[in-house]
Symmetry: D2
Subunit: 183 residues, 4 copies
């Protein structure tokens, strides 16, 4: 069962990005993945900003990234790019931390004007981390993420394309296993 780590990089306590990340984690569990979600904002701020990988909580996340088969990287768009919070975590990972992993970038934003931040801002950073297979990313408008009790639903038009991308990511992970086991 390919394992997936979901990193959610919104600074906000009541974040649509985080709620969307949990929603995608549920979908991935239904498709036979062991999924763990990490909110970067719950890591110790001082250790994060100083890149202190000896901090136990930070060290544990670095190990979790190393152990995962796939990584979902979720961020709101701030100032035409990913959040500084998310980048602080990515900064302290080893140079090729994403080598050999499938990676799914998901970005949320208030306006369609931010769509290209996925490919021009986030994807080059994931490439720099050695990610060999960054699947097609996706941008979700804030207004398409609708609160339903404690959880969220996706607006009709937004659900199908995002699920296609997420399911494609899951397929990549399921397809790789045998290849790797056989080698």
């Amino acid at each position: 069962m390919p394992s997936i780590l979901v990193l959610s990089g919104s600074p906000s306590a009541t974040s649509r990005t985080a709620a969307l990340a949990e929603h995608l984690a549920l979908r991935l569990r239904e498709r036979d993945h062991r999924v763990r979600t990490i909110r970067v904002r719950e890591l110790p701020p001082a250790a994060l900003l100083s890149g202190d990988t000896r901090d136990p909580a930070v060290a544990e996340v670095v190990e979790a990234v190393a152990a995962a088969d796939g990584v979902v990287v979720a961020s709101p768009v701030y100032k035409a790019a990913y959040s500084g919070l998310l980048k602080s975590l990515l900064d302290l990972l080893p140079q090729f931390a994403l080598a050999g992993k499938a990676v799914l970038p998901v970005v949320t934003g208030g306006s369609p004007a931010h769509v290209l931040a996925v490919d021009y801002a986030l994807r080059p950073v994931l490439s720099a981390l050695g990610a060999h297979h960054v699947v097609q990313g996706w941008f979700v408008l804030d207004s398409h993420i609708v609160a339903v009790g404690d959880a969220v639903e996706l607006a009709e038009g937004a659900r199908r394309p995002l699920y296609e991308v997420v399911d494609g990511f899951s397929d990549v992970l399921h397809a790789r296993r045998p290849l790797i086991d056989a080698s």
Copy 2:
């Protein structure tokens, strides 16, 4: 006397980026600017990462940005882009925080392979902050920043082009004042 704020975004306590920023501040003072340097790493980490602009130290920096005529934005290259630490500060500035200001991006890195991070990663974020005049930025190789006691010197070949860029930035600021005063 046009005022300049230097934001230095390295997470490291013994940072070449920070030492270079101080060196440029000296140069700018000699050219008749009031210059203040802020190391982002000295701001309270929790307030920074949660975007808490009510924190007094953070609020004071937001005001200092608003009051400055020019801003130098200095960052090391991490994972093909600016540091998450620097971006955390930029994230909590108001949407058009750099409107009407001259901005000088300076990036340091261990390899010439990171040069384009100035124009492809940092500059679009400065544009998103409303900067109307981002002058030509500059990339400085770590190995060209040489410690001399507590301060740093620049290697022979690196000094002239960087000073040209810094002096050009200063010229822009001195040229603008009368124009603005006259209007």
Copy 3:
């Protein structure tokens, strides 16, 4: 009277980008500029694609760029970036062809999802050409460019912000002259 060259990079014979470029040229003439517009598609294709700067028509454009005080670079968004046609012309310019010039990037597209192409795709190329002052660029939605006889008008909401950007560009050019004359 600061001179301006408008480069319009749409491959289409009936292009909104080209019509918008002419519209902006009119506005700039009213603000006391000598303005010339060049449609890249009217240059000889073989010379353009092979970078043949001995071709008389190409050579003449290279000289016109060198002689201009300001350059407007206009392109439609194709595949998340500027057109290949525009880039073919930029490719054959000398390395620092835009040094010392003010440059205004203007991009048109069918969807707001392409907005960031101005800052992430076009602006880094203009920086690589040595442009020291690329003013704030602008993105215009195709649907805001309305044909009126042979010319175009801009939709109400689109006109004001674009004119502000264009007038700002003009102000930069008028302000620089005396500075340069004085030196």
Copy 4:
């Protein structure tokens, strides 16, 4: 036998990019691929620049892209990005021309300062074309491409990492076939 199309986008008649593309085509043939190489500069310039897909030579290339299982996209770095010549071809492809294909970006340049053009300039365009699996790209220094008679060799240090990337691309293509056949 998965088929591969190599698009080589240098405007120059005696191009290192083109020679490198042929060299990679040889390697891929040895690894059991049907490989075809297209030099974009040999397509009719007028049809290319006007996006005329009714031109027989252009139409044939559009079909060849559609039929290929994998595509190598090779370009020199000009002005911090891919060549306008290459982009002219990409511009006239249908919107999702690379959907379902594996894509390998290869960029050549005179200085390591251009390395990030692979990930910040070329890759976002490939994503916009719907490419679902762009493998790790590679940057090759001009000085590492050494002429040997009519062909080229790669300098010692450059050969191994590039072959690893190319072989990884080949592995992706060989691994996909059964998956697709089985579905």
